[in-house]
C-alpha cells in the first residue's frame, strides 16, 4: 500500500545555485499527484529530492524535511533504504542494456541478495503483468535483452523493474515524454491502474496528461510551488494568475 508524503520547507541547490525555494506540500497516499511547470522550474529536482537522488549529483544539496509515511528521509534512514521504498521511473527508458528482460525486472531484488528462484519467477511475472508488458515479452524473457524492446516497451519494463522491489511510492519523471502517443496512452492507463496500490508522483510537460491521470496537481515556477490543489480546480479555476497564464498557454 502507498503512504503519504509530507514536504516542509524544502530547499535544494546545485552548487551555489538554488533551484528549489521553501517547497511545502502534502501528497496524499494512493493517488496520483501531477507536477507541472515550464522547463527548468524545479519539478524534476523536486521529485529527485523525494528519494534522495538529488544528492547523487556531486554538487547537489538539500535542506528541509521530507516525510514518507512516518519516516523522515533526511534524518532517519540511509538513501539506499529510502530508494527501496520509493521507486523511480526516469524520463528516458533506461533498462540495463546487457541484461535480459527477466534479469532487468529481477535486478533490484537479486542484486540486493534475494535468491529464491521460485519467488523471483513469481515476482517477475507479477511485475510485468502489473506493467502491462507480460503478454508482449513472456516468450522472450531470458532470450532478449531489455535494450531490444521498443521505447514504449522499455519504459514499461522500467516500471516493472521499479515495481518488483515493492515500493510504497512511485516517482515518475516525465515517463512518457520520449514516447509516441500509443505508448503514452498505455503508460497513462497504467498509472490509473497502479494508483490504487501506490502513491504516484508524476512530473509532466503535458497538461492534458496531468488532467487525465492525477487527482491533484502542483504548478511550479522558478523553483517555487505556485499552486497546489485538486486537479480539476487547477485547470478550471486556478487561484493564481501565473497558473492561469501557464495553463492557457500564455507562456512556457
Amino acid at each position: 500500500m502507498g503512504v503519504g508524503i509530507t514536504v516542509k520547507d524544502l530547499d535544494a541547490w546545485y552548487g551555489t545555485h538554488q533551484t528549489l525555494f521553501k517547497i511545502s506540500l502534502d501528497i496524499p497516499a494512493n493517488q496520483a499527484t501531477a507536477l507541472i511547470g515550464p522547463s527548468g522550474c524545479g519539478k524534476s529536482t523536486f521529485v529527485r529530492c523525494l528519494n534522495r537522488m538529488h544528492e547523487t549529483n556531486a554538487s547537489g544539496r538539500v535542506d528541509g524535511t521530507v516525510r514518507i509515511g512516518a519516516m523522515d528521509i533526511y534524518k532517519d534512514a540511509a538513501p539506499v533504504e529510502i530508494r527501496r521504498r520509493v521507486g523511480m521511473v526516469f524520463q528516458r527508458p533506461n533498462p540495463f542494456p546487457t541484461m535480459s528482460i527477466y534479469e532487468n525486472v529481477a535486478s533490484g531484488l537479486k542484486l540486493n541478495g534475494f535468491r529464491n528462484r521460485r519467488v523471483l519467477d513469481e515476482i517477475v511475472e507479477r511485475s510485468l503483468k502489473h506493467a502491462a508488458l507480460w503478454e508482449e515479452v513472456k516468450d522472450d524473457l531470458r532470450r532478449k535483452s531489455g535494450a531490444s524492446l521498443s521505447g514504449g516497451q522499455q519504459q514499461r519494463l522500467c516500471i516493472a523493474r521499479a515495481l518488483a522491489v515493492d515500493p510504497e511510492v512511485l516517482l515518475m519523471d516525465e515517463p512518457a515524454s520520449a514516447l509516441d502517443p500509443v505508448s503514452t496512452a498505455k503508460i497513462e492507463d497504467l498509472i490509473f491502474e497502479l494508483k490504487s496500490q501506490y502513491t504516484i508522483v508524476i512530473v509532466t510537460h503535458n497538461m492534458q496528461q496531468a488532467a487525465r491521470v492525477a487527482e491533484r496537481t502542483g504548478f511550479f515556477l522558478s523553483g517555487k510551488l505556485v499552486e497546489f490543489d485538486v486537479t480539476h480546480k487547477i485547470f478550471t479555476n486556478p487561484g493564481d494568475k501565473r497558473t492561469e497564464d501557464y495553463i492557457t498557454g500564455r507562456f512556457g
Binding site: R83, R85, F90, N94, F96, P97, T98, S107, G108, R161
Partner: protein, 290 residues
C-alpha cells in the same frame, strides 16, 4: 513555393569525387592490412615446415644434435602469462574503476592517469631491469614468478586506461537506474556499470595480454630461460619469445628453423587465446543487446 538546394556541382563531378574518396579509403585499408598478411604468410611459409609433433612434445636438444622442440617454452610462456594475467587484470580493472567511478576529477586520479600513461611508454627492457632489482636480486635467483610480475606490471596501464574509458562511456542514466532501485553504490558499480562496459573491458585485457605475450626483453633478467622442463615458480623458466630470440641469433640452421616455428606457434597461441576469450565472453550475449 518551391525552394531548391543550390546545385553547383553537376552529378558527374560529384560521382567522381565520391569514387576517388572511396578508392583512397580502400587503398589505405590495403596498405594497412598488407604487412600484417605478409608477416603471417611468411611465418607460415618459414615456420610450418619445421612444425612437427616433436616441436610440441620435446625439450631443446643440446648444441650439435638435430631436432628437439619447444614444449618447455610453450608451457613456460603459459605459466608466466597466467601469473601476469592474475596480477595485471584485477589490479588494472580495479584501478580503472577507481578512475572512472570514484576518483574522476580528483588530483590523485590525475596523478594516477599520468603515471599509467608514462608506465605505458616505459621501454619493456627497463621493466625487466626494474623487476630484476626488486625481486631477482633480493631472492638471488631468476624465477618464473619474477617474469610473470614483469609482464603483469606491463599489462596494468593498458587495462586501467581502457577500463576507465569504457566505464566513462556507460550513460549516467544506467547508474541512476541502479541507484534508484536502492542498490548500494559498490553493487551498482560492479554488477551494473562494469557489466555494461564488459565487452570493451575484455578487449582491453586481451590487447594487454597479446602485447606482453610476445615480449622478450622483460624476461631476459627475470624468467631468464631454461633448456629443461620446469614448472617451479622459483626456478628460471623457458618462454617462447626467449627461446625464439636465442635460436634466431644462433649460428645453426636447424635452430633458425625452430625459431621460425616458434614464432608461428607464438602468434597462433595468441590468436587462439584471444578468440577463445571472445567466444566465452560472447556466449552470454543476448538478442538485441547493446
Amino acid at each position: 513555393m518551391e525552394q531548391q538546394l543550390p546545385r553547383s556541382n553537376n552529378s558527374t563531378t560529384r560521382n567522381l569525387v565520391d569514387h576517388v574518396a572511396t578508392g583512397l579509403a580502400v587503398l589505405s585499408t590495403i596498405l594497412v592490412v598488407t604487412p600484417l598478411v605478409a608477416i603471417f604468410a611468411y611465418l607460415l611459409f618459414k615456420g610450418a615446415s619445421s612444425l612437427n609433433l616433436a616441436f610440441f612434445t620435446q625439450v631443446p636438444k643440446p648444441v650439435g644434435e638435430v631436432g628437439g622442440g619447444m614444449a618447455n617454452a610453450i608451457l613456460g610462456s603459459g605459466i608466466i602469462l597466467a601469473i601476469a594475467s592474475l596480477m595485471g587484470v584485477p589490479v588494472g580493472i580495479a584501478a580503472g574503476i577507481y578512475l572512472a567511478e570514484f576518483g574522476r576529477n580528483t588530483r590523485f586520479a590525475n596523478v594516477v592517469r599520468f603515471t599509467a600513461d608514462v608506465l605505458n611508454g616505459v621501454p619493456s627492457i627497463v621493466m625487466g631491469i626494474a623487476v630484476y632489482s626488486l625481486i631477482v636480486l633480493p631472492q638471488k635467483h631468476f624465477s618464473a614468478f619474477s617474469g610473470g610480475v614483469a609482464l603483469g606490471i606491463m599489462m596494468i596501464p593498458t587495462i586501467t586506461r581502457t577500463t576507465e574509458e569504457m566505464l566513462v562511456m556507460v550513460p549516467n542514466s544506467v547508474r541512476e537506474a541502479a541507484l534508484g532501485l536502492g542498490l548500494p553504490n559498490w553493487r551498482s558499480v560492479l554488477s551494473i556499470t562494469l557489466r555494461t562496459a564488459s565487452p570493451g573491458v575484455i578487449t582491453g585485457c586481451m590487447l594487454a595480454f597479446a602485447r606482453v605475450a610476445g615480449e622478450t626483453a622483460p624476461l631476459l633478467f627475470t624468467a631468464f630461460g631454461n633448456s629443461f622442463w620446469s614448472t617451479n615458480l622459483n626456478q628460471p623458466i623457458a618462454a617462447l619469445p626467449l627461446q625464439i630470440y636465442i635460436y634466431a641469433i644462433s649460428p645453426y640452421d636447424d635452430w633458425h628453423r625452430l625459431a621460425w616455428a616458434g614464432a608461428l606457434v607464438l602468434i597462433l597461441l595468441i590468436v587462439v587465446s584471444v578468440a577463445l576469450v571472445r567466444y566465452v565472453a560472447s556466449r552470454g550475449t543476448l538478442k538485441g543487446a547493446a
